[in-house]
Amino acid sequence: MISLEVTDLHKSYGSQPVLRGIDLAVVAGSFTSILGPSGSGKTTLLRVIAGFERADHGAVRLGGESVDDGERYVAPEGRRIGFVPQDGSLFPHLSVEQNVGFGLPRRERRGRRVVELLDMAGLSGLERRYPHQLSGGQQQRVALARALAIEPSLVLLDEPFASLDASLRAALRQDVRRVLKKAGTTALLVTHDQDEALSLADRVAIIHDGQIGQCDTPQALYGRPASPELAVGLGETNFLRGKARGDAVETPLGLLCLKAAAAPVGTALVVLVRPEQIVLSHDPGEDHCGARVVEAEFYGHDAVVRLRADWDDSAIVVARISDASTVPPLGARVGVSVRGDVVAWPDGGRSSRADPESGQE
């Protein structure tokens, strides 16, 4: 069942278009992330869904009922959408308990429901505290519990972890996911952090230039991005030039199998090879292409090696090595091969895109 449906949504601020035809469907009970860089319009999208802003064009439907379609407009208080802003926006003059109970009818504000919510969010014992007495993570938990109190059909999370430090962020992320799953609430998270989007959500929608580029499961999005641009948006990339050979593609690194046939035989292709698909061998033999190690980054659980390729002086190949103890020394010559199937697109002359350096870290 579809909980939220957005069709052809447009929104401009003055003459500046921010959303340019957003289409999005969110299944009830699922956790969807909207991933995009700052300025891509993701917060605006959230604000239109919540009803803080009206759409210029297009429609927003909640549980099949239209809440904003150019004629009908339901005010935020009529939508039953929980909203967790970036800074929490707790009411500073109210205690934790009063914040959580804010949206409930008067007689329920001190009742069991509030106690349950506090317990679920791991806030027991903090009932009487005021927002300024809480840590950043605790404030976000209160904001989430407050949003869940009204039993919303949908919870919107606007980069709720952005202001927290890394260790806290990871722990809170999983807590939030657990709480939302337990409550069975549909959730929509916007973020610019790809790890966050991939690790939390059932589905990820990539927003680019005011439009949804692709919406799919995290695995599919990572493994089979719809375009080179989307691939760059999700993790580090290597792009190779190649020629289509049916189910395979001919590249400087040999003949690679395609996940799906891309184009007629002979067509020029851009091939995506993720760093973890690159395999290094210590001696560049006859059947391997050679490369020279120019940089190595050690992360403990794995390592990233950058290589200058023999077949193209200007190309740098990024490889992720899962056993960090086998990292070759700087300057060493190694053999390079690719494991697994690859994705490719017809080469539309985007050679500048095919630069691994432009991949996100």
Partner: protein, 502 residues
């Protein structure tokens, strides 16, 4: 709103232009003696510097050292704010003939207005990041140099803001200087208005406004690129208080001296004169009615000024833009206009243009107070409005709460302290106001300030003293409330409030 605020100045300009520019210059030059200008400027400079030093040191001692009884000193040091300048002046000059002329004016004004520097500086020291001092020390900078380069740097804006207010108050002061026999622009304008020539008074008023604008511009230029910001997030560390060690006793003595001079002498000498002069029953009766009139006018002014400030604050904070800029500039202008000028302009308008309509009636007096103290009310309300962001109302909406209940349950509780503070501040200022009151007071009414003034002018100190004490008593309550407001304002709001004040 803008029109009402700018009205006084508009009338002054109109009148001045009517008289003709050359005529105007003539009027100004005839009465503008070099000694008048010299008096005004040197007093302003000396008192401002003294207030900056005393106010800053007092604030540092209370906020950043292990001064015994810091919280008590914090209250005692601020209370002189509630004592009218003319009462401080009366208290000192009635005790000793040494206190008169320039030296008397410096002593009295410094004691009366240093809290204007103390308050913002104390607030900024409390909100500043103590980590910066640690960093300075870790970079090998000594303790004293750290104080000057880092601590004072953090409070710089607050110090300049306080100095600005001090300078404006001195430009506008009348009563205290009259008692001390010290001639400044304002006393001269008053004399001209009362006994010589109204048009000269108007012309001189324009010069005073220009002086005020100079002060304002000087302050905003000195503000420059100085930015005070906290980088990094997380909970602020507790401030490390500096140990006074052997300096403890001298510092305590200094605080005691300050409190005695600013608080003890005015109150003590008023009490002394009551016993010495023997107040008669006549005073008792008029004391009651004068207190009622004072309270009535002040309450009216507090209500009107706060009511004007609320929509302006909401507008300015939530919808920045051209309206914002215009209101900002108007407030700026009002700030530079001494009460005397506002009163003169209003009285001039009502007698010349409105056929004496409303002249010397209660509504006109309340209007004058409201215009004069509007910037003060705005400061308080804005500080609160800035704290209650729109996003809070939005969140309330997303929780299913309608707009009006959301305003009642979220916005109002958040800005209520600010509204209360604005009310108190305007009330306090109106109770202690003398200059404009003398000009605009309704014919058959007397306020505490005007009654005090009448007796004091007759040298009936025994009769004047009870009025001074009642003024102090009435003003003490709101000033206490006010102190609590600024004390409890969270840091973000506080920084905002400072930005507004200065």
């Amino acid at each position: 709103m803008v029109t009402v605020l700018a009205l006084p100045l508009a009338f002054l300009l109109r009148e001045a232009l009517d008289a003709g520019v050359s005529n105007l210059w003539h009027l100004i030059w005839r009465s503008l003696t070099a000694s008048l200008l010299w008096n005004t400027v040197r007093l302003t400079v000396v008192v401002t510097v003294l207030c900056a030093v005393i106010g800053t040191l007092a604030a540092y001692g209370v906020e950043r050292t292990d001064l015994p009884g810091a919280r008590v000193w914090a209250v005692l040091v601020v209370v002189p704010f509630a004592i009218p300048d003319f009462v401080v002046s009366f208290g000192w000059s009635s005790l000793s003939s040494w206190v008169q002329g320039f030296r008397g004016a410096v002593l009295v004004m410094t004691l009366a207005v240093y809290p204007l520097v103390y308050l913002p500086v104390a607030a900024s020291l409390r909100g500043a990041d103590p980590g910066q001092e640690d960093i300075a020390r870790s970079l090998g900078v000594g303790r004293l140099v750290t104080f000057f380069r880092v601590t004072l740097g953090q409070a710089r804006r607050a110090i300049f803001g306080g100095c600005l207010l001090v300078a404006l108050v001195i430009l506008a002061e009348y009563g205290a200087f009259e008692i001390l026999g010290f001639q400044t622009f304002t006393t001269e304008i008053f004399t001209e208005f009362r006994i010589v020539d109204t048009s000269v008074a108007c012309a001189l008023s324009l010069v005073l406004v220009v002086l005020g604008l100079f002060v304002l511009m000087g302050e905003s230029a000195s503000r420059g690129g100085g930015r005070v910001s906290r980088t990094g997030s997380g909970v602020q560390r507790a401030l490390v208080r500096r140990h006074l060690g052997h300096a403890r006793l001298p510092v305590l003595v200094a605080y005691a001296l300050l409190v005695v001079a600013a608080l003890g002498v005015p109150i003590g000498s008023s009490v002394y004169w009551i016993f010495e002069g023997g107040a008669d029953s006549l005073v008792g009766a008029s004391l009651g009615s004068a207190a009622l009139y004072t309270a009535g006018y002040s309450l009216g002014a507090a209500l009107v000024a706060t009511a004007m400030a609320l929509p302006v604050a909401l507008l300015v904070t939530r919808h920045p833009g051209r309206v914002h800029a215009m209101l900002e500039r108007t407030t700026f202008l009002v700030l530079a206009m001494p009460g005397l000028v506002v009163a003169l302009a209003i009285s001039y308008f009502s007698t010349q243009y409105a056929n004496s309509f409303g002249y010397q009636t209660a509504p006109l007096l309340v209007l004058a107070y409201s215009i004069m103290f509007f910037p003060l009310a705005l400061v308080c309300v804005r500080a609160s409005v800035a704290q209650s962001s729109v996003s809070l109302e939005e969140v309330a909406g997303s929780l299913g709460v309608r707009r009006l209940p959301a305003v009642l349950r979220v916005t109002l509780p958040l800005i209520a302290p600010g509204i209360g503070a604005a009310f108190c501040l305007v009330f306090l200022s109106a109770v202690t106001e003398l200059t404009a009151t003398l000009i605009l007071i309704p014919t058959n009414a007397e306020t505490l300030a005007t009654q005090f003034w009448a007796y004091q002018q007759n040298l009936s100190y025994g009769q004047a003293a009870p009025f001074a004490l009642v003024i102090i008593a009435i003003a003490a309550v709101p000033s206490y409330v006010l102190g609590r407001f600024f004390d409890r304002l969270p840091r973000r709001g506080l920084a905002q409030a400072q930005r507004e004040v200065v």
